[in-house]
């Protein structure tokens, strides 16, 4: 959720964040989050970016073709590695599943619906992991992959303020969203956030964006941001 908020903040578009239990069903694609503008509802990063672009706001206009290609490639890397690793940790690591994910995911619903829904979601995620070949991975291998991904991101960022020099782009929003979530969410072990903390320029990057785009607004919005960060872990 944070990627979207960051992206919209970067475009200087005001937003209000609302948490709802049936949010997944309200969304046109079943995926969170989604934005509700006037009488239009748009979900997922790609369509939202295009929607915003059609309304005249775009962050990546200043990039040339090769840079746009690089940006798309890095976004895929983040989706491929970080998102899958987050899903793996939530749904395929037995300890985390039992202690955190099941209670959280099922919390809005009464028993036995909460157990049924969370088992269903777990089964779905495990099927997907098997199809892409992640089912055979151990937790150490997943953490290693995350480390490799962070290393690549850290190398690409270097000492620049944003990934493509002076201006933030969709990539910055996406990376911020994922990394901030990893850094601030409480799990059984801290290994995942430790991996990210190893890269000081990435933590500095997160802090910088947080200060620039989130703390500038009221305390309210940062509290909402923290709550919605937890909610995004439920996906």
């Amino acid at each position: 959720t944070l990627c979207f908020q960051a992206f919209l903040q970067m475009c200087n578009l005001p937003i209000r964040v609302i948490c709802r239990a049936n949010a997944e069903y309200m969304s046109p694609s079943g995926k969170l989050p989604f934005i509700h503008v006037g009488n239009q509802v748009v979900s997922e990063l790609g369509p939202i970016v295009q929607f915003v672009k059609a309304k005249g706001h775009s962050l990546s206009d200043g990039l040339d073709e090769v840079q746009k290609a690089e940006m798309k490639a890095y976004m895929e890397l983040v989706n491929n590695m970080l998102l899958t690793a987050e899903l793996y940790l939530q749904w395929c690591d037995d300890v985390t599943v039992e202690e955190i994910t099941h209670p959280r995911y099922g919390s809005p619903y009464p028993w036995p619906l909460n157990r049924i829904l969370s088992y269903q979601k777990q089964w779905e995620v495990r099927r997907k992991m098997k199809a892409i070949g992640w089912a055979g991975k151990t937790l150490e291998q997943v953490l290693e992959d995350v480390d490799q991904c962070c290393h690549a991101l850290s190398q690409r960022l270097g000492t620049q303020p944003y990934f493509f020099n002076k201006q933030p782009t969709e990539l910055d929003a996406l990376v911020f969203g994922h990394l901030f979530t990893i850094l601030t969410t409480q799990l059984i072990t801290d290994e995942l956030s430790e991996k990210v903390k190893n890269y000081s320029n990435l933590t500095a990057f997160c802090r910088r964006i947080e200060q620039q785009y989130f703390e500038g607004h009221d305390k309210d919005s940062s509290a909402i941001a923290a709550r919605s960060a937890k909610r995004s872990l439920l996906r």
Binding site: P28, S29, G30, K31, E65, V66, K68, A69, E70, K72, A73, Y74, E76, L77, N79, N80, M81, R127, K128, A131, I132, G133, Q148, C149, H151, A152, L153, Q155, R156, G158
Partner: protein, 312 residues
């Protein structure tokens, strides 16, 4: 230097060393980095190994996914990315992720799910290379796995039918090809003049689309509109694979080379032995008293034996 390494993978046709993208990636990387791999293509006399192909076997170690195989080769000092900067290494990872997310689903679809392609080309080709009775089962299983993968990763609301998913994945694939073309520009390889891991992956994914003759070829037609990518594939095929139409010459060339090497080694060994014997003979006069007594006692037996030792 290292233990002998063998790669078991699917064979090739239509001018390619292999039809399978992952096998092709590993073969290309081995050529780029100079790793001495013996390539065994799967044929009917084989029992198809369980698990993913390609498989690298080196003494007791068995490794199966392309990324892991490449890591292993790098640890054995066959590194094609030696001259890359850290940022270029990061770019490599990003572009490989792009290929896997955007291009691979369409590639799988063209080979395994598009009905005309599957029935007229893919299934007969693979079936002819698998032993009975697995040939009736394995291609179907590979097709189901491909469909599963596409539906689980790309399907799902708002795309409700297979045709919508298909339209989306082909759109993504064409966009990916355009991005690759822009990134390659006019250079020979993605990072300058020497090929690297990224070139191996791109070649592995593009070459089957480019060369295999399918009835339904929308992706191939799109690729042919990007001349720099076509030139990229052709260059690698001619420089690193040197294939004739039959596709057998590199294997023949390799065995001839190996035989020549063995012969040279044998000849060298022989000449070393001969030199050693010569040295011994020359050293022997340093102990004249012993030699004289033995000569006296043996009455010519000793004399004849050095001579007999010299003759082969």
């Amino acid at each position: 230097m290292a233990a002998p390494m063998e790669l078991n993978c699917w064979g090739g046709d239509w001018g390619l060393p292999s039809l399978h993208p992952e096998s092709l990636t590993v073969m290309a990387y081995a050529k780029f980095s100079g790793a001495p791999l013996t390539v065994n293509t799967i044929n009917t006399s084989w029992r198809v190994p369980k698990g993913d192909i390609p498989v690298l076997v080196s003494e007791d170690i068995v490794i199966s996914q392309p990324a892991k195989i490449l890591n292993f080769l790098r640890k054995q000092k066959y590194n094609a990315d030696y001259e890359l900067s850290a940022k270029q290494g990061a770019d490599t990872l990003a572009y490989i992720a792009l290929l896997e997310e955007k291009l691979l689903p369409a590639l799988l679809h063209t080979f395994w799910i598009e009905a005309e392609n599957y029935c007229s080309v893919t299934k007969p080709w693979f079936a002819s290379r698998i032993a009975f009775p697995l040939r009736w089962y394995l291609p179907g299983k590979m097709s189901r796995e491909a469909l599963n993968r596409i539906l689980l990763t790309k399907g799902g609301p708002p795309l409700y039918s297979l045709t919508e998913v298909e339209a989306q994945i082909y759109r993504d694939a064409k966009e990916c090809l355009n991005l690759l073309s822009k990134r390659l520009g006019t250079s020979q390889f993605f990072f300058g003049d020497t090929p690297t891991t990224l070139d191996a992956f791109v070649f592995g994914f593009l070459a089957p689309i480019y060369k295999v003759c399918f009835p339904r070829v929308q992706l191939q037609e799109h690729l042919k509109q990007l001349p720099n990518l076509c030139r990229f594939c052709d260059d690698i095929l001619t420089c690193y694979f040197r294939l004739t139409v039959s596709g057998h010459s590199p294997a023949g060339q390799d065995t001839a080379d190996a035989n020549l090497q063995k012969l040279t080694q044998l000849v060298n060994k022989e000449s070393n032995l001969i030199e050693k014997m010569d040295d011994n003979l020359r050293k022997s006069p340093q102990h004249p008293p012993r030699k004289l007594t033995t000569l006296k006692l043996a009455a010519g037996g000793e004399e004849s034996s050095p001579l007999s030792r010299l003759s082969p």
